[in-house]
């Protein structure tokens, strides 16, 4: 009897070990995928416990608070099944059928496979449970009525996992899956309309991010953030370390690199690069149309050169060549030349640091000039860098500069 018990125990131990190892593999894969989805950016409050939610997210419709996705049974997702979790990710509904506000990027996450959703769920079930009640949202009428979301979903939500494009390589498809799905890049890089939706035909065509007032450039246009003529090395450097020979990330994209992209494997970053290069078009260059009369533009340019030589040239070079990767080049830099001047104006006003990453733990920062330059000087120097050294941007006005002084820095 004792002998057979021992044998049984031994057998169980032998059987249990691979299962445990498999679970650990799934959990590790889930953790990786949760990074790719940047869940932490919304579901963890500043200084709050991991994934316990209650982070305030200002939207044009009021403030939404993220939810507790730790495995606490009462206040988190401890009672959820893998089916419940998949339905949330895939269909944007809570287990009770309730509709989820699209601040949660389920229109992107719907593309995530069942196996990947299950791995993320296994990971979330493995982290420490935190008892913290969800904060009620503070949305204005009529947006506080969740039933309105039915209309939003009809207009802007197409349910369905990512389907491989057989005409493209496996690498391209992997990149598309990550960019369109977990990466939810379209949440910022697609134009957003007054109803907080984006249409599929406009995907990745760029837009001003509501509330944050940063411009998320088009990924489809080489005149904006299109990577068509970038080398794979520069793309990988930018996405993984936050800096590259072509430019660096600041603002909301610094958040994405800091919390998400720096943790992805070289293979996945490469796949994203292949896909992003694939969707970038060499859009015909329209002649620059300045909103300012040319006499005013040329006055701005001459003041701009004075400001540039005094304040900027030391780091960015007399001809805008920069000292990359730490001091980005301004000449031939898409984010300087593109139609929207919001980002260059903001950088001059508020400065900024790229994120600390494993590949660039101690980034160099751009000083804020809001207190040192007048609106006219900001407009002049931004006009100068947008129109010099072969750059084909347009002039900006002192009014443009002034309006961004009050833009939110949160």
């Amino acid at each position: 009897m004792a002998g057979s018990s021992w044998a049984l125990l031994l057998l169980l131990a032998v059987l249990a070990k691979p299962v445990q190892a498999q679970d650990n593999d799934t959990i590790a894969r889930g953790e990786y995928l949760a990074r790719a989805g940047d869940c932490v950016a919304c579901h963890t409050a500043p200084e709050g416990p991991l994934f316990a939610g209650s982070r305030a997210m200002p939207t044009p419709f009021g403030t939404i608070y993220s939810t507790n996705i730790t495995p606490d049974r009462e206040t988190g997702i401890g009672k959820w099944s893998a089916d419940d979790f998949y339905r949330t990710m895939h269909n944007g509904r809570f287990p009770d059928g309730g509709l989820i506000y699209p601040a949660m990027p389920f229109a992107s996450y719907t593309k995530v496979t069942r196996a990947d959703c299950d791995a993320i769920f296994a990971y979330l079930k493995s982290i420490p449970p935190v008892s913290q009640r969800n904060r009620p949202n503070d949305l204005r009428f009529p947006y506080n009525n969740r039933q309105l979301l039915l209309g939003w979903r009809t207009l802007f939500f197409t349910e369905g996992e990512y389907k491989n494009d057989a005409t493209k390589s496996a690498e391209w498809n992997r990149g598309a899956y990550l960019v369109e799905g977990l990466g939810h890049c379209g949440m910022c890089h697609s134009p957003i309309n007054a109803l907080g939706g984006t249409s599929e035909s406009e995907a990745f065509r760029g837009g001003l991010i509501p509330m944050q007032n940063w411009y998320a450039p088009a990924l489809t246009s080489n005149r904006e953030a299109g990577l068509g003529d970038w080398s794979m090395k520069d793309i990988a450097d930018l996405l993984k370390t936050g800096i590259s020979m072509r430019g660096a990330v600041y603002g909301p994209m610094a958040e994405v690199v800091h919390n998400s992209l720096q943790y992805l494997t070289d293979e996945d970053i490469r796949a994203m690069g292949v896909y992003l290069k694939g969707i970038a078009e060499h859009s015909p260059t329209p002649p620059p149309v300045s909103p300012l009369p040319s006499a005013e533009s040329s006055l701005l340019v001459s003041l701009g050169k004075t400001v540039y030589d005094a304040r900027c040239a030391n780091c960015h070079g007399a001809r805008g060549e920069g000292k990359p990767p730490h001091w980005p080049p301004l000449a031939g830099n898409q984010s300087i030349e593109m139609e929207s001047a919001v980002n260059p104006i903001r950088m001059v006003l508020n400065g900024g640091y790229p994120p600390s990453t494993a590949g660039n733990p101690k980034p160099y920062g751009m000083p804020p000039f809001a207190g040192l330059l007048s609106d006219n000087e900001v407009a002049a120097v931004v006009t100068y860098i947008r129109t010099s050294w072969g750059n084909r941007g347009t002039a900006v006005s002192a009014r443009d500069a002034n309006q961004l002084r009050s833009a939110s820095l949160d």
């Binding site: 800091h258 994120p355 101690k362 000083p367 207190g371």
Partner: protein, 203 residues
């Protein structure tokens, strides 16, 4: 390191000595532990000032420690004392609060924590010299209104809560009249006992 912290210099000066803007403080020579606590508080939003919160948001703890060490190790001279606009009577009130406090109103003397020479103590208590009255006054206000907080027990929040507007004006003005001491370095850790527990200066 100097090139890495250039983003700090338009407001705080190239060696952290401060600039003409009276609301931006001197950083140079403050204890590294104090500066690090402030950088963490700005990054995590516990101390609210949007331009600082924005700049630091994605910088790592070890890097913030390096930045704190850099400014702690800078020793540009203290600025010359500025002429004061307040009356002798107000200055005397300020001196009394800083050096002796006011036991009747449960106000502890500034010097009892910030040191008899007001140069602070390692690792977490800052010196009070070389700061403009507007800055000191704004910080005491920020504690009262909760836009500046520190690790619990947040003793400065308690102290600031006992001060009136007139007290703040007086002590900030008197502090700004103090000449630079021979030795502006903060006192070593444990040089004197604190009158109450302080989250920023654990025993």
């Amino acid at each position: 390191m100097a090139a890495r912290v250039e983003a700090c210099t338009p407001c705080h000066g190239d060696k952290g000595q401060g600039t003409n803007d009276v609301y931006f403080p001197r950083l140079a020579g403050k204890p590294a532990g104090y500066l690090y606590n402030q950088l963490l508080a700005f990054r995590n939003g516990r101390r609210k000032y949007p331009p600082m919160n924005y700049l630091l948001e994605f910088l790592s703890d070890p890097y913030l420690q390096d930045i704190a060490n850099y400014f702690a190790s800078q020793h540009p001279p203290l600025p010359p004392q500025a002429a004061t606009e307040v009356s002798q009577q107000v200055l005397q009130h300020g001196e009394a609060l800083v050096t002796r406090g006011d036991a009747a109103r449960a106000i502890t003397a500034c010097a009892s924590c910030h040191g008899p020479a007001l140069t602070g103590m390692e690792p977490g208590i800052p010196g009070l010299l070389g700061l403009r009255p507007n800055y000191v006054s704004a910080q005491l206000g920020a504690w009262r209104y909760g836009t500046r907080t520190a690790k619990a027990p947040d003793c400065m929040q308690i102290v600031a809560g006992h001060l009136t507007e007139a007290d703040v004006t007086a002590l900030a003005a008197w502090l700004a009249t103090r000449p630079a001491p021979e030795n502006a370095a903060p006192a070593p850790k444990g040089a004197y006992a604190l009158p109450f527990p302080c989250g920023s200066e654990p025993n």
